[in-house]
Every structure is written in structure tokens, then in C-alpha cells.
């Protein structure tokens, strides 16, 4: 009787499960993907690469995409005039060569012969001319349309790109581009997804009133036509994407992995589990809690990334008035706060992936637009403290500064109530960094409270300048300092520090605006670099922008996969990947 009962108990569960019918995949694991595969050195299916980048991308249309993961999908399925190779250097892609006029403002691209779209139709310079004009079209309202400012007077937000800015020759063999001024990073833009070609026929055919950009890239299907290494075959929204090799790609011979699968989730723990159980070969992020353990693995890799994690002070905050500080004193106050922050502790305990601590706004590895490295030979804006002694020296210096504005008491603590709020979006890492800064400031009696806001609310609050201090971060879109300098002009949507937005202040920020305009027009690249240094100096002298560390980009890749590479801009290239090559 007991035995029967036990069986009934078990059967009731199994039966009711079976009643639902099996799913397509069933419960049998595919070959080579059992738990044992976690430590495998070869893969049973050497033609499929399983990848996790991030959650569902908002757009696969390269002109509309504005996320890094969406950019990764774009560079693996579309291709521009130029592309990055495994050394991170630019090389001709759809273009065969490029000639630049003497004054540096006219680029003439000669197209590669025999280019085809994924559907077999021919692709030439005319497709690029169409695509660029479409990308800049105000009706498309693309986030990245500001990139078109390099066309100078030939671009406006209201009318888009002028006809003579991008001209394709009658035979489609050459593309002539007329820029507004010298642009040392223009070839980087030629490799940037915003300037990738899109297939006119299906773009135009899928336009609707509600979606004037066309719905061609909203799903897999005949309308999704591309020109890169892989073509979208299946898209299970918020679950997975299947890309297969595009045989019409000009460089198809060098593509050995036939299928590229992407896991789409915002849950990086699930992705990490899938990686460990062998269901994924590449993950672009590791859960914060697992980082320390994951770093011990040979499969853990770190890429340099051009970006800076920093905190931003609201220049117009009432805090300074309340403390009785004028604008100059407020700068000294912010300078002191910057010195009090123990950056090394932050990267050691929160960042954890060996980030380099920062004392410049432009990342250390960033180019200068004149063939060199921008921060090479500069000392940074304050001494970096990596040891305890150096940190103590910084704290002493900070105290001197506080003393000079009458804020320091004899006991080495602030002599009045200095309280303000640090604004951030709810996120474990951000909160831990804030708490570390909070503890640093508390050592001199400064009372910083932490205000966590939901992501979208945070963006609004910060943009509107309703904060004292806020978490900030910027990863460069292209490798030129102007990308991180032009965001601080008075009317820029990213001027979170609110420079020049309060007329009652003595700060004359129009000088900065003029400087940026001058940089954009400067034909002499050496002079241009100099002007950019001037702009960074001007920005840093406000002490509103306080760098913490330079980003880096950790990822994990199975040991049986080789030739996956990435750039310092966050892009990952899978089309030259090889499995079991060793």
C-alpha cells in the first residue's frame, strides 16, 4: 500500500506535467552542452557561437540604434565604408580606398567591386548616399543625428543633410563627402553604425505614418536586408536571436562560424549560469557578485574602454550659497571634495576588474586627433593616490583647501553643517561607490546623504539640474576628445552640471561655447588638439567634473573560441571567430 501511494504521489506530478505536452526543445540537452561542458576544451558544434551581450535591443536599424550592444549587433550584420580590425585599427571595408583633399574637408571613397546586399542585389555608393541622408532626416529623429554636425552648414536638424554633402557618382563607384571642417575622426565615423548602409527598397516599402522610419528591422524576415557578415534569421523577442552567415558578404570566405545566436536578457545571473553550463560561449558582462570568482578563470578577459566614471556637481546648486561660498570658493570646496575621495578603494572593492583611477576627464588612452594620445605628457588635474600615504597627502591638501575658505575647524573637521545629497539611479555598484564616497567625506565631518531614484526619474532630475551632486559616466562614441567636450556647451542636452544656465552667476560659459565652435572649425590639427586641451582645462577648473576611474570592459570567452575581438568603444566582432582552432 505504501509503495503504491508513493508511486501515486510521484505520478501525479509527472502526469500533470506531461499533460501540458512537450515543448519544442523537449528536456533533452543538446550534445556537448551538459554541465560537463563547462570545463570542455573543444566544442562539439564548431559552427555555432552562442553569445550574450545584453537585453533586447530597441532597434536593429543601424541609424536608429543608440546602444553599445545594438552597435555590436550592427557591426556583425552590417558594414560601413571602413571597419576595425583585430588590432583596433581602421581598414577599408565596403570602400576599397579613400582619398582626402588637401584641405582635409573632402573625402572621396572608391567602392569595392561586386558588393552585394544579403538578398543578392548589388550595393554601391548610391546606397550609401541614400542611407546617410535618410539617417540625418529629421523625420527619423535618430538619437545620433548630432554626428552629422561634421557636415557643417550642409546639415541642420530641421532639414537634414543637403544633397551636395554626400554625392555618389553616376556609376556608383565613388562617394564624395563634403565636410564642414577638418575632422580627424571622420574615418571612425565611416565605421560607426549610424553611417552603415540600409536597403532602400524595404526601408521605403515598410514606412507607415506611425513609424516613418520603416518597420523593416523590427523582425526577422524578407524585409530585413543587410550587407554584413550575418543576417537575422529568427528573433524571439526578449529571448533569443539567430543570425546565420551571409554568403553574399564580400569577405564571406573568412567567416567560419555559420550561426551566431544571441541570448536576450537583462538578467546577467541567468546568462552567467548559461555560460557556466556551456550553453553560452561568450558573455559581455559578469554579475557584480561573481566578478571576484570569475576573474580567477583564464576565460576572463579585460578590454580597455574609452570612458570615464565621474561625479558631476551642479554649478548652480543652492548648496554653496547656504555655505556662504562665492563662485571661486565653491570651486575650492569641490576641489577639496575631489581630493577626499579614495578612488583606489572604489576600484578595488566595487569595480574589481582592475580599472585605472582617473584624474582627467578625457580617458588616458584616448587619441588627440593629431596622431597622438591626448593625455600623454599631461599630469592630470590632481595627484592620484594609490597608496595609503598618497591618500593621506591628498586628505591633508583637501583640509588646507577647506581651511582656505574658512570651512575647517581646529579639530580638523568642518566647522559648520555641510550636508548635501548625492543623486544616483538604483544600482548596486553605484550605491556602493556612493557609500564609499560618503565614508570618505564623513572623515572630515561632511554629511552626504544618498538619494536613489528609479532610472527614468533619475535621468529627468539630473537633466533638469535638481541635484547637488550626481553620478555620471560617459563612454566615447568615437575616439576623439571633442566627443566628451562638446557635451558641456550651454545648450547641450548633456550639460548636467548646468554651466551657463544661470545668468546671475559670474561664470561666463559662452567662452567655452566659442571654444568648441572654434575647435569644430579649426583646420590645423595640432592647433585643434591645443584648443581641446584648453577646453578640458576650462571644464576641469570648475571642479564640477570629478573623475573617479576610467572604464574597462570585462567579458568571458570559452577557451575553445579564438579571434573574437573588441574595440575600446565597446564593439565586439564575432565574424572572424574560430572554434576549436587550436
Amino acid at each position: 500500500m505504501k509503495k503504491v501511494l508513493a508511486m501515486v504521489l510521484a505520478a501525479s506530478m509527472i502526469l500533470s506535467l506531461a499533460a501540458c505536452g512537450g515543448s519544442k526543445s523537449g528536456s533533452q540537452p543538446a550534445e556537448g552542452t551538459t554541465a560537463a561542458a563547462a570545463s570542455a576544451t573543444t566544442k562539439t558544434d564548431p559552427e555555432t557561437l552562442n553569445v550574450y551581450l545584453a537585453s533586447e535591443p530597441a532597434h536593429l536599424d543601424p541609424a536608429l540604434n543608440s546602444s553599445v550592444d545594438g552597435g555590436c549587433l550592427a557591426v556583425n550584420s552590417f558594414e560601413g565604408l571602413y571597419r576595425y580590425n583585430s588590432e583596433g585599427k581602421l581598414e577599408p571595408a565596403c570602400a576599397e580606398s579613400c582619398e582626402v583633399s588637401e584641405d582635409g574637408t573632402t573625402y572621396t571613397f572608391t567602392m569595392r567591386d561586386g558588393l552585394k546586399w544579403s538578398n543578392g542585389e548589388p550595393l554601391d555608393a548610391k546606397d550609401f548616399a541614400y542611407s546617410w541622408k535618410r539617417a540625418a532626416d529629421p523625420a527619423n529623429a535618430a538619437d545620433y543625428s548630432y554626428l552629422c554636425e561634421v557636415f557643417g552648414d550642409k546639415f541642420s536638424y530641421e532639414t537634414g543633410l543637403a544633397d551636395d554633402a554626400v554625392v555618389a557618382s553616376e556609376d556608383g563607384k565613388t562617394l564624395t563627402v563634403q565636410l564642414g571642417a577638418v575632422c580627424p575622426y571622420f574615418l571612425d565615423l565611416a565605421a560607426f553604425p549610424f553611417f552603415f548602409p540600409v536597403y532602400k527598397e524595404t526601408v521605403e516599402a515598410t514606412k507607415t505614418d506611425e513609424v516613418p522610419t520603416g518597420t523593416w528591422a523590427n523582425d526577422a524576415g524578407d524585409a530585413f536586408v543587410c550587407n554584413g557578415a550575418y543576417i537575422l534569421q529568427k528573433w524571439d523577442h526578449e529571448s533569443s536571436m539567430v543570425y546565420v552567415k551571409n554568403d553574399n558578404y564580400w569577405d564571406a570566405d573568412s567567416v567560419t562560424v555559420k550561426t551566431l545566436n544571441f541570448m536576450l536578457t537583462s538578467n546577467d545571473t541567468s546568462a552567467y549560469t548559461a555560460y557556466q553550463s556551456g550553453d553560452l560561449d561568450f558573455i559581455d558582462s559578469v554579475p557584480v557578485d561573481e566578478t571576484a570568482a570569475a576573474m580567477k578563470s583564464d576565460e576572463f578577459k579585460i578590454l580597455q574602454q574609452l570612458g570615464t566614471y565621474y561625479i558631476g556637481f551642479n554649478y548652480n546648486s543652492k548648496l554653496y550659497e547656504d555655505l556662504g561660498l562665492d563662485e571661486e570658493q565653491a570651486k575650492v570646496f569641490r576641489h577639496a571634495l575631489s581630493l577626499l575621495i579614495d578612488r583606489q578603494y572604489i576600484v578595488d572593492t566595487v569595480g574589481q576588474t582592475g580599472q585605472e583611477i582617473a584624474n582627467t576627464f578625457i580617458p588616458k588612452a584616448g587619441a588627440d586627433g593629431n596622431g597622438g594620445i591626448f593625455e600623454e605628457g599631461t599630469e592630470g588635474y590632481f595627484p592620484l593616490a594609490t597608496t595609503e600615504e598618497e591618500m593621506e597627502a591628498n586628505v591633508e591638501e583637501a583640509k588646507k583647501l577647506l581651511d582656505s575658505i574658512g570651512l575647517l575647524g581646529e579639530d580638523g573637521m568642518v566647522n559648520k553643517d555641510v550636508s548635501f545629497t548625492y543623486l544616483l539611479n538604483t544600482n548596486d555598484a553605484h550605491v556602493k561607490i556612493a557609500e564609499s564616497i560618503q565614508a570618505d567625506l564623513a572623515k572630515v565631518g561632511i554629511n552626504m546623504s544618498i538619494d536613489q531614484q528609479e532610472w527614468n526619474v533619475f535621468l529627468d532630475t539630473r537633466k533638469q539640474g535638481q541635484f547637488d551632486i550626481a553620478r555620471e559616466g560617459w563612454v566615447m562614441d568615437y575616439d576623439d576628445p571633442i566627443n566628451m567636450l562638446e557635451m558641456w556647451t550651454t545648450n547641450s542636452g548633456n550639460n548636467d552640471c548646468q554651466f551657463g544656465r544661470d545668468d546671475s552667476k559670474a561664470l561666463d560659459w559662452s567662452k567655452y561655447d566659442d571654444l568648441i565652435t572654434q575647435i569644430r572649425k579649426e583646420a590645423d590639427t595640432a592647433k585643434r588638439t591645443e584648443l581641446m586641451h584648453e577646453a578640458e582645462d576650462m571644464l576641469m577648473e570648475t571642479w564640477c567634473v570629478v573623475p573617479i576611474y576610467y572604464y574597462n570592459d570585462p567579458y568571458m570567452l570559452k577557451s575553445y573560441v579564438s579571434d573574437v575581438y573588441g574595440t575600446a568603444l565597446g564593439m565586439k566582432y564575432f565574424y572572424h571567430a574560430k572554434i576549436n582552432a587550436q
Binding site: S23, S25, A35, A37, S66, D143, H237, M263, T273
Partner: protein, 303 residues
């Protein structure tokens, strides 16, 4: 009965309209917007997008325009992705529904069987075992359950893939979703079964020589199921409309995740459509529950 049903349907429509109104004004009142991002787009770009989706008009006008479109059966497009709302729901709801229905079936069948066994074998070891397990499961939230299942079956044992491109393995998510309601149904069935087995009519039936099995299943269980049905209606609606956490852990693109990502992105059209859709299902499930009551137990008066 007919009069009652009509009254309930009218009330249901009213409920949905009120819900849509509250949602619309509440979501517009909270800070943030659909076109916010870490790197801000230019103001002209944002103005163009707001114009395209009528967001430059007063909220009241927006609501009227929105409801007009709904009556025409048009839910619009997602502000974030430009995909049609109807196809977003059309794709994700079947996934959630399949998962939810399976989970509901598992929970109901095994819950009733286990509950009956526990009641019939009261204070013997099967009863004790069932009580122990159900208490344990009830105390465990579904996301803990889901994580544990993922950890053991995918990572430790390697029986099931944690993720496969292009298909879903539903066994683990169904388990994760069904265990908690199953435990509840088991306890509910046991209690009410014990209650109904002690009733006079059971003694009468037995005295009249009705076979044991018939007494248990026809006289006992049928009456014992009334409280279970009360619970099952809302439960089915709840798991049918997707469980955000379980879907996220098992990377299943169901409706639950759309609801949450809609709110995070301030994707107004997606928030409205999912809210109205979920509210409708809830209201319908409650209505059906009330009507089924009546069929099972004629003593219940609906009017």
C-alpha cells in the same frame, strides 16, 4: 442568471475604463519620459518624436485620442522600438499563456490529488510528508525556486539547457510557477475535504451503503472543491498573464517582462495596452469563477 451575467459584464467594462483612466493619468504624472537616455538626444529630435506620438498635446487630449484609437482596435506602436503593440502582445501572450496554463493544470491536478490523499490518510506518514513539503514550498518565493531549479538542473546536473536559441524548455519554468499554488491548493483541499467528510450527508450516504469511492469523489470532493475554485480563478489569471521574475530567470519573452520594461522605459503605449489587457483577463477570470460557483453549488445565490 442571465440578468446577473449582463450586469457583471457591464460592471467589468466600467472597471476596465476606470483602470485605463487611472493608469493613463498616473503614468503621465510620474517623472521621466520615453525618450530619456543616459546620452541625451538633441532637443529637436525629442520634439519631433513627441509630436509624432501626440505627446506634445495636453494629457486629457492624449487620453481621448488614445481611447478613440482603442475603440478602433488600434493599440499603436511602442514608443521605444516602433513595433506594433498588437504584435508585441500577440507574440508574448501565447508564450505566457502556455506557461501559465501548464502551471495552472499542474498545480490544480497535483494539488487536489495531494490534498485528498492528505485528508484521507490524516495523521499517517503521507499526510505528514505532504504537510511538511507544502509548508516548505509555500514559504519559498517563486524567484528563489526558479533560481534553485536553474542552478541544480542546468548547472549541477546538466539535464536541461539554461538557454537555447530559438526555443524554450518549459519544464523548469512550469515547475517554478506551479509549486507555490500547488501547495496552497493542497492545503485548501485537505482542509475542506476533512470538513466535508465530517458532514451529515456523508454519514447518510455511507449509511445507505453507497460505495466508499463514490462517497469520497462524488459527495465529498465535489463539495470540498468550492473554496478551491474561489482561489483557482484569480490564480489562473495571475499565472496566465505571466510571471515577470520566472520569465526573466528562464529568458522567456512573455507578457510579464513587457509590462515591467514598459514601465521602466515609460513606453506609454505599451504600459496602457498591457494594463488594459491584463485587467480584462483578471475581470473575466473573476466573472467565470463566480459563474462556476453557481454551477457547482446551487446553494450559492448570485443575486
Amino acid at each position: 442568471m442571465v440578468k446577473y451575467t449582463i450586469k457583471r459584464i457591464l460592471l467589468a467594462v466600467l472597471t476596465i475604463i476606470v483602470i485605463s483612466m487611472i493608469t493613463f493619468f498616473a503614468m503621465n504624472a510620474i517623472p521621466g519620459g520615453p525618450f530619456n537616455s543616459e546620452k541625451a538626444a538633441s532637443p529637436t529630435v525629442i520634439a519631433e518624436l513627441e509630436k509624432r506620438y501626440n505627446l506634445d498635446k495636453p494629457v486629457g487630449v492624449q487620453y481621448i485620442l488614445y481611447m478613440k484609437n482603442i475603440l478602433k482596435g488600434e493599440f499603436g506602436v511602442s514608443l521605444k522600438t516602433g513595433r506594433k503593440i498588437s504584435s508585441i502582445i500577440g507574440e508574448s501572450f501565447p508564450i505566457s499563456a502556455k506557461l501559465g496554463l501548464c502551471a495552472a493544470i499542474v498545480a490544480i491536478i497535483s494539488g487536489i490529488i495531494l490534498g485528498s490523499i492528505a485528508a484521507l490518510m490524516r495523521n499517517k506518514w503521507p499526510d505528514r510528508l505532504i504537510v511538511f513539503l507544502t509548508t516548505l514550498i509555500t514559504a519559498m518565493p517563486s524567484f528563489v525556486m526558479a533560481t534553485l531549479l536553474l542552478y541544480y538542473f542546468c548547472m549541477k546536473l546538466g539535464w536541461v539547457q539554461a538557454w537555447t536559441a530559438g526555443s524554450h524548455n518549459i519544464v523548469l519554468p512550469v515547475l517554478a510557477l506551479s509549486l507555490s499554488p500547488m501547495a496552497y491548493i493542497t492545503r485548501l483541499t485537505k482542509t475542506s475535504m476533512l470538513d466535508s467528510l465530517g458532514q451529515d450527508y456523508i454519514r447518510t450516504a455511507r449509511a445507505k451503503g453507497v460505495p466508499q469511492l463514490k462517497v469520497i469523489f462524488v459527495h465529498g470532493l465535489r463539495n470540498a472543491l468550492i473554496p478551491v475554485i474561489t482561489y483557482v480563478g484569480p490564480m489562473v489569471a495571475a499565472i496566465l498573464t505571466g510571471s515577470m521574475v520566472v520569465e526573466s530567470i528562464f529568458t522567456i519573452g512573455g507578457l510579464g517582462s513587457k509590462f515591467v520594461s514598459g514601465i521602466t522605459n515609460r513606453d506609454y503605449t505599451l504600459i496602457m495596452a498591457t494594463t488594459i489587457f491584463l485587467a480584462t483577463i483578471m475581470v473575466i477570470a473573476n466573472l467565470i469563477t463566480d459563474l462556476v460557483y453557481k454551477l457547482i453549488d446551487p446553494r450559492i445565490s448570485l443575486d
